[in-house]
Symmetry: C2
Subunit: 400 residues, 2 copies
C-alpha cells in the first residue's frame, strides 16, 4: 500500500459527527508574548498546593504503598470515594461510597453518560448558552440538541415544561452554579420549580457542578440533586479545588444508570488513575483542602472584584454583563448587531484575548454579540489593563 | 416520580450491546482466604519501584512544579512523549513526539479506536482466542466479529488472506507478542507475511503490545509496526514495566486516524493525567526503568520456569500447553469433551483458581477445553502447589 493511504473510508459514522473544538483555532494567538488572556477556563497555578504535595506524596506511599500503583476497582479507589462521602455530605448530598463512581475528570463522566444514554437521533436539552465541552462530549453520540431559554436565574421553567411536554428528551444538561460560560446560578426557587417539572415528567437531569466551591459572596444554594435525587445525575470534580491535571471527576447516578456507567467505564478504561485518587483522598482526609479552599477564594475574589470594577468604569453602557457570586467567568452581551468575533480580532491586536460567546450556542447565530471573560488566571493589574483595552476597542468598534 | 423509576427506557441502543465482564462473576471466589490464584493478569506488587517513587515524586515537583498539576495538551505531556520516543526507538519504532498520543491505559486507546473506526455492523477481525478487554472495548460500538484461526506462531496468513478477500474488515486486532491469553508470539517470518497481505489489501492492523518487555529468553522480535508502519496502529503501555495504577497507554497511528483519535479524546476526557505522565517521564529519562526492568524479569522468569516444570510433572499427558519466552500467561488445551469451567469449580474447591479459556472466544463453545494460567503474581512455592492440585483435579475429573 502506498504512503498516501488516508483511511478516510475507515472512519465511523459517528466520527463524521464529532465536533472539533472550534475555538482552538481562534485561540492560537493567545500564547503570543505580551497577550493578556481572559479567554482561559483554567485555574491559576498559584492555587495548586505544591508544597503540600511533597508531604501528600509521602503519605500516599507510606500509607498505601503498592496499592496506590496497582490495578484497582472500576468504581474508584475506596479511600477516595470515602473521602468524597464527607465532601459531598457538606453539600447536602447524602450518599455512601458505593453510590459514587470516579472518572477521568468530569469530562469523562459526560462522555460516558453520552455513551450509555444517547442513541443517534435522540434529543437532549441544553440551557442556552451551554458548556462547550459538554457539547463536544455528547456530539460523538449523534444527538439532536434542543435549546432551552434562560434568564439571569438560569433555565426558564416554562420553557422546560413546554419542551418536555412536546417531545421525548433523553436528558437535560445543566451547569447549575456559576455556569460556564455565563457565571449564572440557578436560584433555589427555580431549582424547586425545575425539580417539580422534571419529577412530574419522569425526566432526567445531568447536573454538572464544578464551580460551587468557588463562592466569593452570598449564601450557598443546595445542589439541584438535593431537590430531585431520583431524577438527577450529579457530576463534579476536584479540578477547581485541588488540581485539574489529576483528571479526577465523579458522579452519583440513579441505580440503573450507575450500573451501566460502571460497565461502560470498565470497557473504556478499566478504572481511573489509582495514584491520583490516593493523592486526592489524602488531600481531603488530611484536611489540606480545608486550608487550601479559602486561599483559592481569597486569590480569586479580588480578581473578580477588579474585573467588575473595571467593567463599570470602562465598558460602554450599551453592553450588559453578569455579576456572579462566584466561579470563573463573567458573561457580556452587546446590542444586536455587535459581532463579538470581529471585536475579538480587533482586541487581539491590542494584546487582549477573550472567547466570543457564539461558540457556546447550538446555533452560533444566536450568540453573535456575546463574550465570555475569565478572571481567575490574570492578576488584578492585568485585568484592569485588559478591561480598559476591551472598553476602548468596543467604543472604537462601534464607530466603524 | 416514584423511587421505582428505573430509567430502562433511557439507555442507548449501544448500551444494550455492551458486554459485561462475564468472568467477574466466576472469579469472585478468588479473594477467598487461602486461595492460590492463577487467574489474574496483573503485575506482582513487588515489581513496583516504591522506594524510587519517593525520589521521582520530588523530582517531578522540583522540575515541573505547577505544570505537573495543570490542564495539559490532549496529545499528552510533552516530556513523557519525548521519553517515549527513546523508549520506542529501542523497539525499532522510529517516531517523533508529535506522532505519539497518550491515553488512560491501552484500554482507553482501544476504546477510542472503536469509537473512531466502528460504525454499528462493521466487521472487525480478531485472532482466536483474543484479549477479553479488547472485546469489551469494541463491543460498545456494535461491531460484527470475524474470528481468524491461529496456530503456535500466531494468526494464520492464509486464514487472514481469505477473510480480507471475502469481506470489508475495518481492522484486524492482534496482540503480537506473548499474547493474552495464549502467551504466543507472532513469529518474525509470520509478521512479514501478514504485513504483505495487509499492505496488499490496504487493511489496518491494531497491534497491541503490552508484554514485549517481559522477555525471559530468546531474541526480541521487532514489533509488527516495523513491518507495516503505514497500515498499523501501534498500542502499548507502561503498565507492565512501571505501574498499571498510573493508567498510561499510548499509540502511534496513521495521520488521519491520529487526528481523529485526538479529536475523540479531546471530547472524551480533555487529556490524560499530567502528574502520572510526569512521573513516567522521570522514570524513563531518569534511568529508573533501566534498573527496574531487569529486576521484573528476574522476578518473573523463575516463576514461569517453576510453572513449566510443575506442569511437566503434574499435568496429564492428554493436555497440551504453550511454553512462551515471556509475558504473563500459559495457555492449556484439553482434549475435546473437557469442560474447563466445570474443572474450574472443582479446582476452586481445592483452593486454586484459573480462568476458563472459553471467555476469550467470540463463540465460547469453541474454547470449552481451554484455560489460562498466570505465573506472575504467585511465588514459586505457590505455583508448584497450585499446579500439583490442578493436575490432581484433572486426573480425578477425567474419571468422573
Amino acid at each position: 500500500m502506498s504512503v498516501s493511504q488516508d483511511f478516510q473510508g475507515f472512519l465511523s459514522q459517528r466520527t463524521l459527527s464529532m465536533r472539533r473544538n472550534q475555538i482552538r483555532e481562534i485561540l492560537k494567538v493567545v500564547s503570543q508574548p505580551g497577550m493578556i488572556s481572559l479567554a482561559g477556563g483554567i485555574p491559576a497555578p498559584e492555587t495548586f498546593p505544591i508544597e503540600d504535595l511533597y508531604r501528600i506524596n509521602e503519605a500516599v506511599l507510606d500509607r498505601y504503598g503498592a496499592a496506590a500503583l496497582q490495578y484497582d476497582l472500576t468504581e474508584g479507589f475506596r479511600p477516595f470515594r470515602e473521602a468524597l462521602v464527607s465532601y459531598l455530605g457538606a453539600k447536602a448530598i447524602k450518599v455512601c461510597a458505593d453510590e459514587i463512581l470516579v472518572f477521568n475528570g468530569s469530562q469523562s463522566v459526560l462522555d460516558t453518560l453520552g455513551k450509555v444514554l444517547i442513541t443517534p437521533g435522540d434529543s437532549i436539552a441544553l440551557e442556552t448558552p451551554s458548556y462547550l465541552g459538554a457539547i463536544s462530549a455528547f456530539s460523538a453520540y449523534e444527538p439532536n440538541y434542543v435549546s432551552i431559554a434562560t434568564d439571569d436565574e438560569g433555565v426558564l421553567p416554562e420553557a422546560l415544561e413546554e419542551t418536555l411536554s412536546r417531545q421525548k428528551i433523553k436528558f437535560i444538561y445543566l451547569v447549575t452554579t456559576f455556569q460556564n460560560p455565563t457565571g449564572r446560578t440557578l436560584s433555589a426557587a427555580r431549582r424547586r420549580q425545575v425539580a417539580e417539572i422534571v419529577a412530574r415528567h419522569g425526566a432526567l437531569v445531568i447536573e454538572d457542578d464544578p464551580y460551587s466551591d468557588l463562592r466569593y459572596r452570598g449564601e450557598a444554594v443546595p445542589p439541584f440533586y438535593a431537590f430531585a435525587p431520583e431524577n438527577t445525575v450529579y457530576v463534579s470534580t476536584v479540578s477547581k479545588v485541588f488540581a485539574p491535571g489529576l483528571r479526577l471527576g465523579f458522579c452519583v447516578a440513579p441505580p440503573l444508570i450507575h450500573e451501566w456507567l460502571y460497565t461502560a467505564k470498565q470497557g473504556a478504561d478499566l478504572h481511573s488513575n489509582t495514584y491520583a485518587q490516593a493523592l486526592a483522598s489524602e488531600y481531603i482526609r488530611g484536611g489540606y483542602i480545608d486550608a487550601q479552599a479559602p486561599k483559592i477564594i481569597e486569590l480569586y475574589r479580588p480578581r473578580q472584584e477588579a474585573m467588575l470594577a473595571a467593567m463599570d468604569q470602562h465598558i460602554p453602557s450599551d453592553y450588559a454583563w453578569t455579576k456572579p457570586d462566584g466561579g470563573m467567568f463573567i458573561w457580556v452581551e452587546g446590542q444586536e448587531g455587535v459581532d463579538a468575533e470581529a471585536l475579538y480580532w480587533k482586541t487581539v491586536e491590542q494584546k487582549v484575548a477573550f472567547v466570543p460567546g457564539k461558540y457556546f450556542y447550538i446555533d452560533p447565530a444566536d450568540g453573535l454579540p456575546t463574550m465570555r471573560l475569565n478572571f481567575t488566571r490574570p492578576d488584578e493589574a492585568a485585568i484592569e489593563q485588559a478591561i480598559a483595552t476591551l472598553g476602548r476597542v468596543m467604543r472604537e468598534f462601534k464607530i466603524v
